[in-house]
């Protein structure tokens, strides 16, 4: 385990992008993170670095603690232990030590969370435009025409026809709802995006299109992202690096292609072989 984490920390770290003002460290550093549900382990002892512009995939079977880990990092559930340091450019800040207003502000501006079920991440009672505009209004934008313009622009970027701007998400297909949720999150130009099974529950053809879209947006916007999935094809396409989870712990971590093509841990081998059989 320790060896594995060392591997993640040093050998497999790709060169850190260097900012104009010189070297900069990881965007996010997680250490010893744990969340229990009573006596049951949600996740425990998780640590990793996420570098600016990097996409980290988290894979593992159902119940392995992926969602718990993602929510604990993003502050949607309170961790029991560990540290989460975030560096928005002015040096690392311990997110768990932030006041609640600061944490909430971070979460609705610099960070974004795309839920597995779009209904958890959308306001179903208001139009697509209002859903996309919410973060702008939360930031204090007070010009209806400009908010609407930004919403229209973002619908186009996630390939939703502008004519649907005033429709409620309940009238959208599952794939459209998921794309709307992504637009609603990215409109505030976050630096760090958390995605929990973003393509889960969608038809295969819809999944492929959404995956292409996410990949294009991540590249185009230079996003850093942590993507949880049980689908190895998703991480193969999206993730620079990979963490494999089992029973709430990270059992293997490394560059995506390395881990998938040459898995070291028996559990990863099983995971990879089962997907190859499909």
């Amino acid at each position: 385990m320790t060896m594995m984490m060392d591997r993640l920390r040093s050998a497999d770290r790709r060169p850190a992008p260097v900012a104009a003002d010189g070297a900069r460290g990881p965007l996010l550093t997680v250490d010893g993170l744990a969340k229990h549900y009573g006596a049951r382990i949600g996740c425990t002892g998780v640590g990793f670095d996420l570098w600016p512009g990097e996409v980290l995939g988290i894979v593992g079977e159902s119940g392995s603690g992926k969602t718990t880990l993602l929510k604990a990092i993003a502050g949607l559930v309170a961790p029991d232990a560990g540290s989460i340091r975030y560096d928005a450019g002015a040096g690392p800040v311990e997110v768990r030590a932030l006041s609640e207003p600061e944490r909430r502000r971070l979460m609705r501006t610099d960070w974004a969370f795309v839920h597995q079920n779009p209904r958890d991440g959308l306001r179903m009672g208001v139009s697509a435009g209002a859903n996309v505009g919410e973060r702008l209004m939360a930031r204090g934008q007070r010009h209806y025409g400009r908010i609407r313009g930004a919403a229209l622009d973002w619908l186009a970027r996630v390939e939703i026809a502008g004519a649907r701007l005033d429709d409620r998400p309940s009238a959208f297909s599952g794939g459209m709802q998921q794309r709307l949720q992504i637009a609603r999150n990215l409109v505030s130009e976050p630096r760090l995006v958390f995605m929990d099974e973003p393509t889960g529950g969608l038809d295969v053809s819809v999944q492929a299109r959404l995956l292409d879209l996410i990949r294009a947006l991540v590249r185009e916007l230079g996003l850093s992202a942590i993507v949880v999935t049980h689908d190895l094809a998703v991480v193969r396409l999206l993730a620079d690096r990979l963490m494999v989870m089992k029973d709430g712990r990270v059992v293997e971590a490394g560059l995506t292609d390395q881990v998938l093509d040459d898995p070291a841990h028996a559990y990863t081998q099983l995971l990879v072989s089962s997907i190859l059989q499909v």
């Binding site: 909430r104 209002a130 505009g133 209004m137 939360a138 007070r142 209806y144 609407r148």
Partner: protein, 302 residues
């Protein structure tokens, strides 16, 4: 008959405290009011009491009025701008009976005005208290039903949702279609629901010399605007707040600047517009003002 009534009247007077509520309850409500005055626009929880009337009748407002009343007060009660509706009459009678205070229909004469849906047209003055009966005090309820969450949003000034609601209004109707309970920002800090008054009355909240108290009985909340508080109606830069207007003048008193109700005059589709503030309209007619339909209307009534 009269002897019997006297006896029961005397018994009733002993059974009730001045203005119905016991002193401890009044103290508790006054404390909530003081706190509300100290934090303009903030909803202060209070232990609402059972009142001898249903919730829909404004028990929150009645409790606030009861806690404020003194023997020297002159009380005015209106509902939809009128002093003679069932709700207004019964609340006025309740305080005549339990507090023995003088009542009035003239805004200028009143020291306390309890209202459900309007702010009188006559300008309010220093020393006057407006008491609003509030059904739903939480302006964020529309989009966020969780009380724990709305409280947090107030605490952290997370009011983006209010504009989501207004955005939605414009995208559906082409303009901000909210006409009642139009949300306001108080002293640049708390977003507040001004109770179901029409948005036409919102500008009267801003910098008013009177003290404004809001009581929600079922929801157990009291909030306040102390005199001369800054109250802004929420809007967008390119869709500014508009209180609305009528193309008509009041058919009875000719007022071109008051809030009008539409009144159907016959079954052939005839209709006129008249002041919703009946005391205001009467005072204008007494002073010699007349509207298009005033002469025949008054003759018929006389």
């Amino acid at each position: 008959m009269s002897g019997h009534e006297n006896a029961s009247g005397a018994a009733g007077a002993e059974a009730y405290n001045f203005a119905y509520l016991d002193e401890q309850t009044k103290r508790m409500i006054r404390r909530a009011i003081l706190k509300a005055v100290a934090i303009p626009g903030y909803q202060v929880p209070f232990a609402s009491r059972e009142m001898p009337m249903p919730y829909g009748w404004g028990t929150g407002g009645v409790q606030v009025t009861a806690a404020c009343l003194t023997a020297e007060d002159r009380l005015k009660v209106i509902d939809q701008g009128a002093d003679d509706t069932t709700n207004a009459v019964s609340i006025r009678k309740f305080f005549e009976r339990t507090a023995g205070v003088k009542t009035t229909e003239e805004t200028e004469q009143a020291t306390i005005i309890q209202t459900r849906h309007r702010i009188p047209e006559a300008p309010l003055a220093e020393g006057q208290i407006m008491v609003f009966q509030v059904p739903i005090p939480e302006p964020l309820r529309f989009l966020e039903p969780r009380e724990t969450e709305t409280r947090k949003m107030h605490a952290l000034e997370e009011y983006g949702l209010m504009h989501v609601k207004l955005y939605e209004d414009i995208s559906v109707h082409g303009h901000i279609a909210t006409t009642y309970a139009y949300p306001v920002l108080v002293e640049g800090r708390y977003v507040m629901d001004p109770s179901p008054i029409p948005k036409f009355d919102n500008p009267k909240l801003d910098d008013s010399p009177a003290l404004m108290l809001f009581g929600a009985g079922r929801e157990q909340r009291i909030y306040a605007l102390p005199p001369h508080t800054r109250v802004q109606s929420l809007d967008f830069e390119d869709h500014p707040f508009d209180r609305g207007h009528w193309d008509e003048d009041c058919a009875l008193c000719g007022d071109a600047g008051s809030y009008l109700d539409e009144v159907i005059t016959d079954d052939a589709g005839g209709r006129i517009f008249v002041c919703s503030d009946t005391a205001h309209c009467r005072a204008r007619r007494q002073a010699g003002h007349a509207g298009a339909a005033s002469a025949p209307y008054e003759e018929a009534g006389a």
